[in-house]
Every structure is written in C-alpha cells, then in structure tokens.
C-alpha cells in the first residue's frame, strides 16, 4: 500500500493502466448511452425514462468525486503527503464538469417531468449548484494562493475540502429527510445495480424484461443493465481523464521547481561574474 504512495511509482502504475481505462470508459460509456436510447418506454414516464442513463451517472459521480477529494484532503492534512493533494487538484475540474452535466441534464429532464427547469425551493437542486460553486472555489483558491506559495495553496484548499464535505452528505440524504420536488433515492449505485444484475443472471431476481417500476426502488429491471454499463463507463472514462490531469499537475510542479532552480543558477552566475 505504502509503495503506491510514492508519486512517481503511483504515476507509473496509473499511466500504464490509463489507456485501458480510457478505452473501456469510451466503449462502455458511449455504448451504454446508445443502449439507453433503445430501451422500451417506461409504464409511467414513457420516453422520458431515457435521460436517466446520463443524469444518474453524472449526478452520482459529482458526489463521489467531491467525497473522495475530501477524504484525500483529510489524508493530506494528517499525513502531509503530496499525492492526495495532486489527486484533489486533478479531480476538481473533472468534478466540476460532471456537476455541470448533472445540472444541465437535470434541468432539461425537469421541464417535462416536474414542469420546471429549476426550483430554488428544492434542496437537492440547490445543493448540486452549491457543489459546483465549491468545486470552482477550490480551483480558484488553490490557483490564486499557489502563485505566492504552492504548498500553502494546496493546504488551504485541503482545509476547504474537508470543511465543505457536508454538502455531499446533505445532498445524499436530503431526499429522505425532507419533502423535495426531486425524486427520492432510486438505489442507483454501482454496487446495488451489480447485485441486481447478478441476481437476474442467477435467475433469482425480478423480471428483467418488465418496464414497470420495481417495488423496492424506482428502477424497473429492464433499465438496470444499461444504467450499470453507462455508470461504469462514465466512471472509468473520467478516471482516465483524472490520471491525465494528475500527470499534468505533476509536470507543472516539476516545471515550477526547475524554473526556480534555473533562476537561482542565473542569479548565482550573474553575481559571480559581476554582470
């Protein structure tokens, strides 16, 4: 475990797996979307079930990314390790992008289903917007402070991430705690969906060809496989993008350090030669 905490070793391993993650992400992500477009109409929502396959993965990922950034920030603050900080720097733009996708797809889906693009009284919607602002605040905070002192910028950013994780917790449980316009939890996480697919394969699950909603949660059996494939594809795709961005952050750190050394060497030479 500890050997992967070395940034160089971790990046060697991550970059070796990156092309496979990217290829799998593209195939599963876009394949799942095409599958989602061809599903039979839902009993209640008819064709309007289709945005589910792009909205749920992006909304879920927006919370997962922020949650993992907060955990990484906590690790960085406690153990003073640079790798979690680099992860946070790379994950923030990815998280911001998927949050925008969740907001846009949610608004477009909300118009025909909830009769509105946006409702300020709905805590789930407002918390998702707040999450986007938190991603942007973190990015700006670290970039601005890093101009003076990169280590200070990353540290303040980590404190901000740990302190603001409450948004993710609230967003996850708000549909259970309050009466909201947004629908309740659909049980659409990768583990539960995989469980349902496995049970279906073993012949112990519900009727996988039925388009009516399941009793235990909101998603009918026929929609579970395409949703699972799209979620996995989206997660793997953005993980691959995150590895590229981690490499980008590492090279930027190296560039800063080399430039500092170069400037110091020039100053030393100028002083020594008296020019």
């Amino acid at each position: 475990m500890h050997k992967f905490a070395n940034p160089t070793r971790f990046m060697r391993w991550a970059e070796a797996s990156q092309p496979y993650l990217l290829a799998l992400g593209i195939v599963l992500g876009f394949g799942g979307m095409v599958w989602g477009l061809t599903v039979p109409p839902d009993e209640e929502m008819q064709e309007l079930i289709k945005p589910l396959f792009v909205h749920v993965p992006s909304a879920g990922l927006s919370l997962i990314v922020y949650g993992s950034m907060s955990i990484a920030a906590f690790v960085a603050l406690v153990w003073r390790h640079p790798l979690p900080e680099i992860f946070c720097l790379a994950a923030a733009p990815v998280g911001a992008v998927v949050t925008v996708v969740a907001l846009v797809t949610g608004a477009l889906w909300g118009k025909p289903t909830l009769n509105t693009y946006w409702d300020w009284r709905d805590p789930r919607m407002v918390l998702e917007l707040l999450l986007l602002f938190q991603y942007l605040i973190y990015i700006v905070l670290v970039r601005v402070l890093s101009q003076r002192d990169p280590a200070l910028g990353r540290r303040v950013g980590s404190i901000f991430l740990v302190a603001s994780v409450v948004t993710v917790i609230l967003s996850k449980f708000v549909t259970e705690w309050f009466l909201v316009l947004h629908q309740g939890s659909s049980g659409a996480n990768v583990i539960q969906l995989t469980g349902r697919v496995v049970l279906n394969l073993l012949g112990q699950g519900e009727d996988s060809s039925a388009a009516e909603p399941a009793e235990d949660d909101g998603i009918a059996g026929v929609y579970v496989p395409p949703l699972l494939v799209t979620m996995l594809g989206t997660y793997l795709f953005y993980m691959a993008i995150g590895i590229w961005l981690m490499r980008y952050e590492l090279i930027r750190m190296r560039l800063r350090s080399l430039r500092r050394k170069q400037t110091a060497a020039h100053e030393f030479l100028a002083e020594a030669t008296g020019t």
Partner: protein
Amino acid sequence: MDDRFVAVWGSYGAAALAMIGALVVARLVLNKVRRELEQLKQDAGK
C-alpha cells in the same frame, strides 16, 4: 420544440459533449506542459 425531445436529446448531447470536451482539453493541456518541460530541459542543456 417539444420538451420531451429536448429532454432526451439535449441531455444525451450535453453528456456526450462534456466527455469529448474533457478528453480534448485534458489531452491539450497535458501536451502543452510536456512541451514546456522538454523546452526547459533543452534550454538547461545548452
């Protein structure tokens, strides 16, 4: 335009565009810093 049509195709379009955009931008910024690093190494070698 019909709200249902916009909801389905707009959301798929937004998700696909975001994925393609993220891929292109991440690749471009990574290539840019890699070039800068190579340039700096060459300058240091002179």
